[in-house]
């Protein structure tokens, strides 16, 4: 029983991180109609920007975190302006291929600047708290709390600002949004800003929990897409629920299968979902 509760905690932490990525993927899909394969590497970039702040400039963690959010959002918009905007008239599938190229380019830049080895934010071992027999690392509270705070902010933005409403309108029906006078390019830029911020936060949280390396984000791409699809791709709220399911399922799976095959669990859930219910857990629209 204790073991299951412990795995549930691991799953919650992993799920929170996946959720931040999956919301971004889902928003981008909703607005721009393509699967953004460079999202994992955007997360990695955010983690390394924070490292540059902490180790390079000696900033406190919170300031480095803010720096990472801003810098990653800027890169995210920059990539869109420099590349994706030029391909907007092509089929979405060309944008997908292009994003695979971006994924590799971002990763190579990270390798060139920071090297291929594992790195950490702060050395020294943090002792986990023992609560009723459960091991809880202090930074997990930060991760789950931080992710929840960002999600609440996003919710407020989507529901209560003009821009957020425009964004939802565009995800529902881009043509209708355009004729009703919504500045669609502005919505696109804000989509990349938000996706960049959330990706950077996810990357920072991975770094906080474990360590940094150039493929840390790429390795999460499959669970992120699984979560986005589970929640019904294009629906940011569904992505959060999907991420928690994927995160907890991946950790729970270690009870029955070898931990090495954890990534396969996300894959299996995703395929089952795509075959039986491609509109997602809460979906009723056609995919």
């Amino acid at each position: 029983m204790l073991e299951i509760a412990q795995l549930l905690i691991y799953g919650l932490v992993l799920g929170s991180i996946i959720a931040l990525g999956a919301i971004g993927v889902s928003l981008i899909f909703g607005i721009l109609r393509f699967a953004h394969f460079a999202h994992g590497d955007l997360m990695t970039l955010g983690a390394y920007f924070a490292l540059a702040g902490i180790a390079g400039m000696g900033l406190p963690q919170l300031a480095a975190f803010a720096l990472a959010l801003i810098a990653t959002a800027a890169v995210s918009v920059g990539i869109d302006r420099a590349l994706y905007a030029r391909l907007r008239r092509s089929q979405p599938i060309i944008l997908l291929i292009s994003s695979v190229g971006v994924a590799l380019m971002v990763r190579s830049v990270i390798q060139m600047v920071w090297g291929p080895d594992n790195q950490i934010y702060s050395s020294g071992i943090q002792m986990p708290w023992i609560v009723g027999g459960l091991r809880i690392k202090p930074q997990w509270l930060l991760i789950v709390g931080g992710a929840a705070a960002l999600m609440v902010l996003l919710h407020a933005f989507l529901q209560h600002t003009r821009l957020g409403k425009a964004m939802r309108a565009m995800a529902d029906n881009p043509d209708l949004a355009r004729v009703s006078g919504i500045n669609t390019e502005r919505v696109v830029i804000w989509t990349w800003l938000i996706a960049g911020v959330l990706a950077a936060a996810a990357g920072f949280f991975i770094g906080l929990d474990t360590r940094l390396n150039p493929i840390m984000g790429w390795k999460l791409l499959l669970p992120i897409f699984a979560a986005a699809i589970l929640g019904g791709i294009g629906r940011p709220y569904g992505a959060i629920a999907g991420a928690l399911v994927i995160g907890i399922a991946q950790e729970m799976s270690t009870l029955v299968i070898e931990p090495a095959y954890k990534p396969a669990v996300a894959f299996a859930i995703m395929i089952a979902m795509l075959v039986w219910r491609p509109t997602g857990l809460f979906g009723n629209r056609t995919g």
């Binding site: 393509f34 699967a35 394969f37 590349l83 030029r86 391909l87 092509s90 979405p92 599938i93 060309i94 997908l96 291929i97 292009s98 695979v100 190229g101 971006v102 994924a103 590799l104 380019m105 990763r107 190579s108 830049v109 390798q111 060139m112 090297g115 291929p116 790429w218 791409l221 499959l222 897409f225 699809i229 070898e258 090495a260 095959y261 990534p263 396969a264 996300a266 894959f267 995703m270 395929i271 795509l274 075959v275 491609p278 995919g287």
Partner: protein, 319 residues
Amino acid sequence: MDLLGLFGYLTFFLSMAAIYAVLALGLNLQWGYTGQLNIGVAAFFAVGAYTAAIATTAPSANHLGGFALPFVAGLVLAMLIAGILALVVGLITLRLRTDYLAIATIGIAEIVRLVLKNEAWLTNGVRGIPSIPRPFAGGSGIADNIAYLGVIVAITALVYLGMQRLFASPWSRVLRGIRTNEDAVTAAGKNVLRFRVEAFVIGSMIMGLGGALYAHFSGFISPGAFDPMFATFVVWVMLIAGGSGNNRGAILGALVIWAVWTLSETLAGALPGDLGSRAPALRIFLIGLLLEIILVTRPQGILPERPPRAIDRSADEQR
């Protein structure tokens, strides 16, 4: 470099280019003809390579087999196993939209990589499979290399001719129809799923063949040789640069991109100390940049797709 060394290098270069050409031709059937987004090329390549290695090596306690089968049997088995994997994957995922297929193939590539790494009884894990024999071996090193280059080129030519034959066939006309307007093809009474699965399986079998050729070429394979992202990505760049939908384009793309890749290695080797250690990442960055430039400026590639010449009626009536 002396003449013999240059000759040896040229043999190596052409062998690898021909193997990449086989992979690009397989991808061309899936993406160029049918519009299927397979980002798991490495999976079928690796399955083919491992199948050929297990089939043709001498018996070993370190992995399954080897069964010491002849070279050709290894090739056939490699295509068969890659084809079976593609059939299973295809039947489940080819009903889905093509961007979902892309995500699913990434998953397949990841799972194949995990299996190769973790199932040591089958593949000897990270230590890999050594001493994979080559056909016509036994002479001096360079004569062996040239003989095997001949084998690879002959097989590449066969694959090319087969693909050209397919391209002119009514079968691939249906595939191109699916690519451009799936609903119209359904309305014309074609079983779209069946055509899709056929294209996916045959394309993956060709990739498996490429993997088998590579296994015999390098003589040693391990999971490290199949970085799933890079192996897949480079084949994609080759096909898109050469011209999707055009078989000559696929071969030309393989030659050109492989030349750019090896040339960049030579140039990177000349970089001083610290820069040299970061050169591999720089090379991947430049290949990525090349892809983006092609996508923005010339998405049809060097040799654009050309519809086949008028098909003679007798072939038309067979369907």
